[in-house]
Symmetry: C2
Subunit: 355 residues, 2 copies
DNA sequence: GCGCAGCGTCGAAGCGCTTCGAATGCGACC
DNA sequence: GGTCGCATTCGAAGCGCTTCGACGCTGCGC
């Protein structure tokens, strides 16, 4: 269905209400309407009422492009998503939702970019004044986008930490503290001999920040609390998990508190423990660092430190906004992890003799 | 007109290259640069070269807002995602990626909206000339957004069919044909007695289009090919699946070809069949209508009709573009389903006697 | 030799909005 | 009563781009 008026000069839509229309209808100057809307100058309450009434009546909506042109602010931020996503999808979605919602709360919209346009996409978007700032999700250690962001003429915030984060603003969960929380929880339940079952060895061998940080956090907490903790790298397949557990129990049969930081392996761990004669949580307590969904759908449900997707998204937007308004922000923002107790952790058992 | 002047009236960014700069540098009029870029008037090749060189040299990028203002086209489409997503997440992501990529190919960007802003969000976006058109994902039968779209001053395309699709442009998989394909596949393998295990009863009782269409497609194909097919609604829990299968085999022990259109139940079906003494695919062949991932990760992997997310996304964008350029498009676009043969289907067994 | 048709280019008029400086009106103050 | 200060409001100048009519030029037909 076409609207009338197809072939005029400056394409003139009959149905578009402009600020001029509002001004005329309210009997004020255009600038007055603008000031009512932006609040950048004081307007008498009678005038304000009148203008607002006209706006309402005419159904006026400011033209985003015109506004961007005149004010040099688009009120749009770019959200860069990877297309290859190693990330847990539900968590990603939570993040995205949180970002969009938070952005809307400060009157911004979100432009979606997939990574396949690569660095050039970033430059294009930024240079065209289409967005005021950029939010990058699912950052990798050696992220090709990181260097580009540094040279970009617009502020940006990363969710996650690349290997080289200098000069970049990053947000993520505080994995060091997450590790510590897990150990503290187990220690609080009376466990004295613990283990960390972490990511595959290769992950540690690359300088993958968050894996190291988790391990350091666990070890530090164990030392601080006077407990034993040994850390194991662990593959993701059932056989590898089984092998790791075998080694672990061989070295320390009395181990009763297990921290798992390996999303893929965690269900296999639960499945394998009974085969070593350990019931969860009666003989061994398990605490995981993983998305909520994984923790909840496990059997038994896992006590865990969650990825606080909501918070991360909100924080990221808030940081970006602060940068946009010329504020100064910390380079690194680490979110305080929260531990949720579920069915996989319980007070330490009285010592048993295993062979 | 002097360019110097750092602290004039309108905020002047030193780092922004405008079309005026390009024109001056190339020694032509501003309009000429514009025409080189848009190709809307013929320009001599020498001039074009010169202009393009200047653009390149200066690193010029048109200001999106200014362009939108003058041309009344934002070159942005809105993508509306639900926040509550009943949809299979990987499929959703595929769709989103496909949409973004397709849009970029026709020089459009994508503005992301979550549904929680509701109908008002749609109106806001549309009226502010921020987007030229709207793409709505994951449409429900009784979708609150549908009526709004009809009154919107911008074209829209839905992915999925609401109950009342009058006056709306919708795209989806052709479920009728999908059902038929499954039956044809089984018939081709020599199966004569088949069954359809569909969605829960309530889904049929609401007038849920795609469930009915699948069933009709299966029945029609069975009749056409001279085979037996009975359709069963089926719940999603293991006990319900077990019960349905029990009924099914009680009524027709010789059933050897099973079509499953129930994502949630399909794994339970595979798990339950052995308990009825049926091996897959030796005794019973199973064909599913489900996302690729589900089919691939099942054991045995499922022969299935996939949701062609890529195609759907591409089609949706292409339809929207056609509407934007004043073209006329069909109300309903049904995508041809493709069946992928995997390990769950095999030639019909020689008749066996079950009790 | 003159008129005419195109081609290629230019100049100017906006698109709808923000923002700055200036104008207005009013009570207060000397 | 004149002047100053304050609170409001107005007018106009752009923001960077597109688009339309106009114009100069060349080559052609008569």
């Amino acid at each position: 269905m076409t609207t009338g008026e197809a072939h005029r000069h400056g394409p003139k839509r009959a149905d578009m209400v402009t600020i001029t229309d509002v001004a005329r209808h309210a009997g004020v100057a255009v600038s007055t309407v603008s000031y009512v809307l932006s609040g950048k100058r004081s307007i008498s309450s009678t005038t304000r009422q009148r203008v607002l009434a006209s706006i309402d009546l005419l159904g006026y909506r400011p033209h985003a492009g015109a506004r961007a042109l005149a004010s040099r602010r688009a009120n749009v931020i770019a959200l860069v998503l990877p297309l290859r996503t190693g990330m847990h999808l539900p968590v990603l979605m939570q993040l995205v939702t949180a970002v969009v919602t938070s952005a809307r709360q400060v009157d911004h919209d979100v432009l979606l970019m997939t990574a396949d346009e690569g660095p050039n996409g970033l430059r294009r978007i930024a240079a065209s004044s289409m967005v005021d700032g950029v939010l990058v999700l699912d950052v990798e250690m050696s992220d090709a986008r990181a260097p580009v962001l540094r040279t970009l003429e617009r502020p940006s915030v990363l969710i996650g930490f690349p290997a080289d984060a200098r000069g970049l603003t990053c947000v993520d969960l505080d994995f060091h503290q997450a590790g510590a929380r897990c150990v503290e929880h187990l220690a609080g339940l009376g466990h004295t001999r613990m283990a960390l079952l972490g990511a595959p060895r290769v992950v540690y061998e690359r300088d993958t920040g968050f894996a190291h940080r988790t391990r350091a956090g666990c070890l530090e907490a164990a030392v601080r609390l006077g407990r034993t903790l040994s850390a194991y790298a662990c593959g993701e397949s059932p056989p590898e998990v089984h092998a790791t557990l075998a080694t672990l129990f061989a070295q320390d049969p009395g181990m009763s508190g297990l921290v798992v930081h390996n999303e893929a392996a965690v269900t296999h761990v639960l499945a394998a423990l009974p085969r070593f004669g350990r019931r969860v949580p009666d003989d061994v307590s398990v605490v995981a660092i993983c998305p909520d969904q994984v923790a909840e759908s496990a059997n038994p449900s896992l006590s865990s430190v969650l990825i606080p997707a909501e918070d991360v998204g909100r924080q990221a937007v808030s940081l970006l906004m602060r940068k946009l308004t010329g504020g100064t922000v910390p380079d690194a923002t680490l979110l305080v992890p929260a531990l949720t107790v579920r069915s996989s952790s319980a007070p330490a058992p009285t010592p048993t003799h295993y062979h």
